[in-house]
Symmetry: C2
Subunit: 195 residues, 2 copies
């Protein structure tokens, strides 16, 4: 009775839901099993351990992002428009829970080498994308000042990670005008491009 794909996907979906509800520190195999509506033993049958389940969840969430990344990379939009799109993606990813998942996994990685390596791999791919975009922008804009493309990648990407953590913490635009700041950066880029 190989209803395997169903159950496995069901557990992963429940694991995501449980992670969003309780955070990583409150995550337990029993809560996941209850949420999925399957016996506890199913989790260890399909994933072997809680640890492996977490890694599988991270991998599954990342799969979704990879396809979108490649679309963006192939796009020929002007820089300011790509920045705008990145701001839109942030809102999407906040709603979908992906931001929370990745940030929870990042925090878990501070104490777990396997998770840390997995998260670094994911984020490394993102930074390479940003660096590549910066390298292309260097030609268009005539150099990047004192910065290498990789450093521009850092300066473009890190604010998003910091803002994500703050938004998850409950900061509102009134106390931390993060969204308006990001949008205005887009308009500055637009002027730099001479649009």
């Amino acid at each position: 009775m190989p209803s395997d794909p169903d159950t496995k996907a069901q557990i992963l979906k429940a694991a995501k839901s449980a992670l969003l509800n309780t955070g990583y520190s409150g995550l337990s195999t029993r809560k996941i099993a209850d949420e999925a509506g399957v016996p506890l033993s199913q989790i260890h049958y399909h994933f072997g351990s809680r640890h492996n389940l977490v890694l599988a969840l991270l991998d599954r969430e990342n799969q979704k992002l990879l396809t979108r990344q490649q679309e963006t990379f192939l796009s020929e939009m002007p820089l300011w428009k790509r920045w705008e799109q990145a701001c839109d993606y942030l809102e999407d990813d906040l709603r979908s829970g992906y931001v929370r998942i990745l940030q929870e996994m990042t925090a878990a990685g501070w104490s777990d080498d396997d998770i840390a390596a997995a998260v670094r791999d994911i984020l490394k791919g993102w930074f390479d994308l940003l660096s590549g975009t910066a390298a292309a922008a260097a030609e268009k804009l005539g150099g990047l000042g004192p910065f290498t493309p990789e450093e521009i990648g850092v300066l473009a990407g890190m604010p998003f990670l910091g803002i994500e953590a703050m938004l998850l913490l409950g900061f509102k635009e009134k106390d931390l005008p993060s969204r308006s700041a990001l949008r205005k950066v887009g308009s500055v880029i637009r002027k730099l491009e001479g649009d």
Copy 2:
């Protein structure tokens, strides 16, 4: 026998140590008690609950930072030098464990309203400081372009938070040139100031 101050401080110190070793999800009252060399019951006598102990630890770590913040606020250094100092502080805080503590608390706040409120208070103070500095810089530099001082505060502070999370995750300068990027921002500020 009121050796109370000793024991209480000892427990807080052990709590910090345990948090650095195991992360928030692995933190337990027994590990803290063992590390402090006191019976488990002492923790509940002095702090009432694990929850209160965590909040007390956060408050204690923040006290240290507050004094330094005020020193920086009162300083009359040029902007680029303050930025350099912020980079130096980052290295100090990474070594001392303060970065890890605050980032762990931030992540814990995603699932705990009390911790979230406490962390927001701390970071709100930091952002106000940055915004104030940006407002002062606006006069010196002749405006901030399209940005409000608060938005400049966001754009100055958020990269640090993102970079902290990545450094804790084990990113090296080779894969993520975060330190060189931050330092070069300082040199750009220096040119803007016409020094």
